[in-house]
């Protein structure tokens, strides 16, 4: 069943490759769209069959592959990977949908997009360390080509940089995986949370450092992030959407799954450092974003800031903070995808992304009012305005981490405030004011009329916006999948959390005996009325 998620996009790619004659962009879109819609439907079906109460892998598939190496084709689905898989297919679908019909080398382009989808799905599903690594590397090459062939003017530089960085990340991860299995004397690379239990702390720590740097490059975290702004700026819009929405999540997924999940002793030892690292990343990314003048670069730097929250939450390793990592990954995936999408539409309509040049795009008749409204929604979601998924994610991150790392959490909240600063600058500069497209020194041409955005361009943005709001209003729809895996991941950290909990030990009940509450799927039902509740004692004289 799970293999289908990997195979369906590959089959679609095969169909495209074998398509007789010249492949029209429209046909390619339809074929790949059908493939991705199928896998999305399959994920939906799997979700209905998914047993919420089982913390481990479900729908497991196991085929021995290269047994002497310990490599087996083992797939599994759990609450950590299910939401990410859904986002992967959804955003791939969006990327296919918004791809320019006029691209050259149509066949290759769509095949590459489909291969990425398949590889990422494989990485999220892999329950074997080596298998994960293979998929992790597999996704690299198509992305390199997508940037290097269809990118902007400095695409060669950006693509090579991306390739070198990610290859380095792959080496470190492979090294860590090999070390982990060989040092612990295992013969199989199959994922098992007790894999490193017998290792001495020093070895665990060195393995974890390698893993963290490896995945830290992918996330990306300061100071390994400089490939990201370049890659985003040069990549075309659909690729940016995929890169920000899905591919970065491989890094955070890896951190949570393999760092937090496999190396608990080292994790506890390094947690304070990681939290501090997260703070540096958040503040650095946010501050650097303020100074950007390219819209896409600004959004890219904001990604660096927002992915830092995931590391903070993972470092705190309380149940709430672990589920917050899932929330933050999904919310960042949806929100940054929306933002990149909109920046792409602006770029397409105006030919520039320079914030010193664009003005007043919100103009109702001649500007881009729809894009502007959606952009305001997107940046507000990113800045953590309630009612949207960004808020509840950040709230969970902060709420989950505060008692463990109070100072770091407070500093991360400052980062959340800075998000408002740079995104507000973006909206104010680009969308408010009088419509003009000219550098500040040149007298603006006043009667420009931008091409109106068609419903075709609006639909994906609208869809993402609906999801952002829906999960913001009803976070149970997201939390229910991850509840048990979260508690399972938290299991080794109970002592750590209790020991590090600051201020008020009474506030955090022992989580070991937390009941598995089935989160209400339905809309909140009133529990009512509670009579004679002590009212606020404000008596007028």
């Amino acid at each position: 069943m799970l293999s289908a998620l990997i195979l369906i996009p590959l089959v679609a790619a095969l169909v495209l490759i074998l398509w007789p004659g010249k492949l029209e962009a429209q046909t390619a879109k339809v074929v790949s769209g059908i493939g991705l819609a199928l896998s999305l439907a399959l994920i939906g079906f799997l979700a209905t069959q998914f047993e919420l109460a089982t913390p481990g892998f479900q729908f497991e598939e196991l085929l021995p592959w290269v047994e002497p190496l310990g490599l087996s084709y083992r797939l599994g689905l759990d609450g950590l990977s299910l939401p990410l898989l859904a986002v992967n297919s959804l955003l791939s679908l969006v990327a296919i949908y918004i791809s320019e019909p006029t691209l050259h080398r149509t066949r290759l382009y769509y095949v590459l997009l489909l291969v990425i989808n398949s590889a990422v799905a494989g990485a999220f599903l892999a329950a074997n360390l080596l298998l994960f690594f293979i998929f992790y590397e597999l996704e690299l090459i198509p992305l390199y080509l997508l940037i290097a062939i269809w990118g902007g003017s400095r695409r060669g530089y950006a693509a090579t940089k991306f390739l070198i960085y990610t290859a380095l990340s792959g080496v470190l991860i492979l090294g860590a995986f090999l070390g982990l299995v060989w040092l612990s004397g295992n013969t199989s690379f199959d994922y098992d949370s007790g894999l490193a239990a017998a290792l001495p702390l020093a070895q665990q720590i060195s393995l974890l450092v390698a893993l963290l740097i490896g995945f830290g490059i992918k996330v990306p975290l300061f100071p390994f992030h400089t490939w990201l702004p370049d890659a985003h700026v040069e990549a075309s819009t659909p690729v940016s959407v995929l890169l920000a929405g899905v591919l970065l999540k491989l890094g955070t997924y890896g951190v949570v799954r393999f760092g937090l999940g496999l190396l608990p002793d080292a994790w506890m030892a390094l947690a304070p450092w990681m939290a501090t690292w997260a703070v540096i990343s958040v503040l650095y990314g946010s501050l650097a974003a303020i100074a950007q003048t390219d819209m896409k670069k600004m959004v890219a730097y904001s990604s660096i800031g927002h992915m830092g929250y995931v590391l903070l939450a993972a470092a705190a390793s309380t149940p709430v903070s672990i589920v917050a990592t899932v929330f933050q990954m999904i919310s960042h995936g949806l929100i940054s995808a929306l933002l990149f999408l909109l920046v792409g539409v602006v770029y397409k309509a105006t030919g520039t992304r320079d914030m010193t040049v664009l003005r007043g795009l919100l103009n109702p008749e001649r500007g881009l009012p729809f894009v502007g409204s959606m952009m305001i929604l997107g940046v507000m979601a990113s800045a953590g305005i309630p009612g949207m998924v960004g808020f509840i994610s950040e709230f969970l991150v902060f709420r989950g981490s505060f008692l463990i790392f109070p100072v770091q959490t407070l500093l991360c909240m400052v980062g959340s405030g800075l998000t408002a600063v740079y995104f507000l600058l973006l909206v104010n500069r680009v969308f408010f004011g009088r419509l003009a497209i000219a550098p500040p020194t040149v007298a603006p041409q006043l009667d420009i009329e931008l091409p109106s955005v068609t419903w075709r361009d609006r639909a994906p943005a609208l869809g993402l916006a609906v999801l952002i709001i829906a999960f913001g209003l009803q976070p149970n729809w997201l939390a229910r999948w991850s509840e048990n895996i979260t508690l399972a991941l938290h299991q080794p950290y109970q002592g750590f959390v209790q020991a590090r909990t600051q201020f008020a030990p009474t506030a955090v009940p022992a989580v070991a005996d937390t009941l598995f509450v089935d989160p209400a799927l339905t809309l909140p039902t009133p529990v009512l009325p509670v009579f004679a509740a002590p009212s606020v004692e404000i008596s007028l004289p």
């Binding site: 650097a288 909240m413 939390a479 404000i538």
Partner: protein, 611 residues
């Protein structure tokens, strides 16, 4: 039947939102054929429904105890977030005030924004605005309150930025969002720490927790300061007061609400939080200090403004400063009475201001004059509002100010003095404005000044009547003290301070042609006040400069150090390769030598231990 209205009172905050959603087709331009009017009517109808429903619930709850509506929203591990609504007489009263004023402001907007193309968008935003405020006063959980405060921040941003094509509006919207956001982020810190420490965010649970908590004093102080930061931003208190006067660039009907009920919502949260803030005497002291500074500073700054709207916005800050003092000295009753009376009077004043702006297209007082006879309804509304604002005759604010002055006179006589001073200065300012706008000879812009159309006149007159009747309503709600308990000396002082203010305002020389004084020292003082003690410039030089320097530094660091290092490594390896290629000379002897040297070294290395 009444119980039904109480039980469904969770709908009350929804009505505004429903109205906003219903008018989306018009605000997005999907429906153009009808013009934007239907969306306005829809929103007005929803507000009426909300008002009536609230009234029914109010009557239903009058003889019962307060009720709590609880909705479990999000449960995860040890985190339980509930959406709690406190249905009490007080909260419903505040809700009635909000929906009532919102209704009047929306009808007012029908006239004021008649020619605006984006009428539908305005009403959508007003719906969100009203909904957030209604939820805020009913909310029984800090989590809900915080969320709605943020919604309020967002909708303020959008409403201030309504005419987003104007440069001043752009900066005003930005400042409104950012200054409020500073307060909100600090408040979020408080909310998160409370959520962690107390385990629940329902106010009732928090009040229980306060009785048993064992926080260190430093922690309690930090918590208290974080909690009051949100209301400081929302109520435009020093040092986060900057946004309110800039926000006057927005459309006037929104200003009516902003100066009356929006700031009230901020203070309302403060009152709800007060039992927690009490943990920290430092935070309470800070409240009093901030309140005093804002009350006096705001009253003085208002005196030097020439903009009709801005001068009143500063006086809003000043009155909210008094509210802060009341909360800081733990007299929430004073705070609530002041909030109520101020909201009604200020809304009326802003309606009058709106009529003037609508008729003359001008809000610069040096260009106005002689409107008194031309616009009788507006003049009457202004006078009524002004009388309601200050303690000159026993209308609304007199009772609030008197009560504050009375209660504080026992423990803090100096703060009583603050109340009296604010009363006097506000009376002075109102008299000054009245003279400038309504008296004197007509100016070019006021020569043709017909009275406003009925859409604006009806709400204005209605609110005038309400303002006049407010003391009776207060008496009916048993809020006013019985005759024999009135502290006559204090009441007399309140009236005296007001009348002195009026007298000074009536006699002080005012010049239209010379807005700035010729006397140098007076001019410096005037400029200091006119530019709000140069707060904006101060911020530009400090906070803004610091953030932008840091931002530019990290961008530079990123480009040249982090990325430079990476590019340097790349370059070094390229050069290394280039350099090494010259070692390949093509002579086989050299290759052999290299191989032998390599193998030799390897041999030495491998047999190292044997030596």
């Amino acid at each position: 039947m009444t119980q039904f209205f109480v039980e469904t009172s969770w709908l009350l905050p929804m009505y505004g939102l429903i109205g906003a959603l219903l008018s989306l087709p018009w605000s997005t331009g999907l429906i153009r054929r009808t013009g934007p009017r239907p969306s306005a009517y829809l929103n007005i109808v929803m507000t009426v429904v909300s008002f009536v429903h609230g009234l029914m619930a109010f009557r239903g709850i009058w003889n019962q105890g307060p009720q709590e509506l609880l909705f479990s929203w999000f449960d995860f591990a040890d985190l339980h977030l509930t959406l709690a609504l406190d249905i009490s007489v007080l909260n419903l009263g505040a809700l009635e005030l909000i929906t009532g004023l919102s209704l009047l402001a929306q009808v007012f907007a029908l006239g004021y924004l008649e020619k605006d193309w984006a009428l539908a968008r305005f009403y959508s935003l007003m719906g969100v605005f009203e909904s957030a405020m209604s939820g805020l006063v009913l909310s029984g959980s800090l989590f809900v309150s915080y969320s709605l405060l943020e919604m309020l921040t967002l909708s303020t941003y959008l409403l201030v930025g309504f005419w987003y094509a104007q440069p001043l509006v752009v900066t005003a919207a930005r400042d409104a969002f950012l200054t409020k956001r500073i307060g909100d982020v600090l408040l979020l810190m408080g909310v998160v720490s409370l959520a962690c420490l107390a385990g629940s965010l329902d106010f009732n649970d928090l009040y229980e927790w306060v009785k048993v908590e064992n926080l260190s004093p430093a922690m309690a102080t930090l918590l208290g300061l974080a909690l009051i930061a949100g209301p400081i931003g929302k109520c435009a208190q020093f040092p986060l007061h900057l946004w309110l006067d800039e926000a006057m660039e927005g459309p006037n009907p929104a200003s009516i609400l902003r100066n009356s009920v929006v700031v009230t919502c901020g203070a309302y949260i403060l009152i709800r939080l007060q039992p927690i803030v009490v943990l920290s005497p430092v935070a309470l002291g800070t409240l009093v200090v901030i309140g005093t500074v804002t009350a006096l500073g705001g009253s003085l700054v208002a005196l030097a403004q020439v903009d009709l709207k801005r001068t009143f916005s500063y006086s809003t800050s000043a009155y909210l400063g008094l509210v802060f003092i009341a909360v800081g000295t733990t007299w929430p009753g004073v705070a609530l009475l002041l909030l109520l009376t101020h909201a009604v009077a200020k809304a009326l004043l802003f309606m009058a201001v709106g009529s003037i702006i609508m008729t003359t297209n001008c809000q610069n007082m040096t260009e106005l004059g002689g409107l008194g006879r031309k616009m009788p309804a507006t003049s009457l509304a202004f006078v009524t509002g002004a009388l309601g604002m200050v303690g000159v005759v026993p209308l609304g604010c007199f009772w609030g100010l008197r009560m504050g002055a009375d209660f504080l006179s026992r423990d803090y006589p100096l703060l009583t003095l603050v109340f009296l001073l604010v009363n006097g200065l506000t009376a002075l300012n109102l008299t000054r404005v009245f003279r400038l706008v309504f008296l004197g000879t007509p100016q070019p812009k006021t020569r043709r000044a017909p009275e406003v159309p009925w859409q604006m006149a009806v709400p204005m007159v209605t609110l005038s009547i309400i303002t006049l009747l407010l003391p009776l309503i207060l008496g009916k709600l048993l809020v006013l003290p019985p005759w024999q308990y009135i502290n006559w000396p204090i009441a007399g002082l309140t009236l005296a301070s007001g009348w002195i203010g009026v007298a000074v305002g009536a006699t002080v020389p005012l010049s239209k042609s010379l807005a700035r004084s010729l006397n140098r020292s007076l001019r410096i003082a005037q400029d200091l006040l006119a530019y709000d003690f140069y707060t904006e410039r101060l911020y530009e030089k400090t906070v803004v400069a610091a953030v932008s320097t840091l931002a530019r530094f990290s961008s530079w660091f990123d480009q040249y150090v982090v990325d430079g290092l990476v590019n340097g490594v790349g370059l070094a390896s390229l050069f290394g390769g280039e350099g090494l290629k010259y070692s390949a000379s093509g002579q086989s002897q050299l290759y052999l030598l290299t191989i032998f040297a390599g193998v030799g070294l390897l041999g030495i290395f491998m047999t190292w231990t044997l030596w």
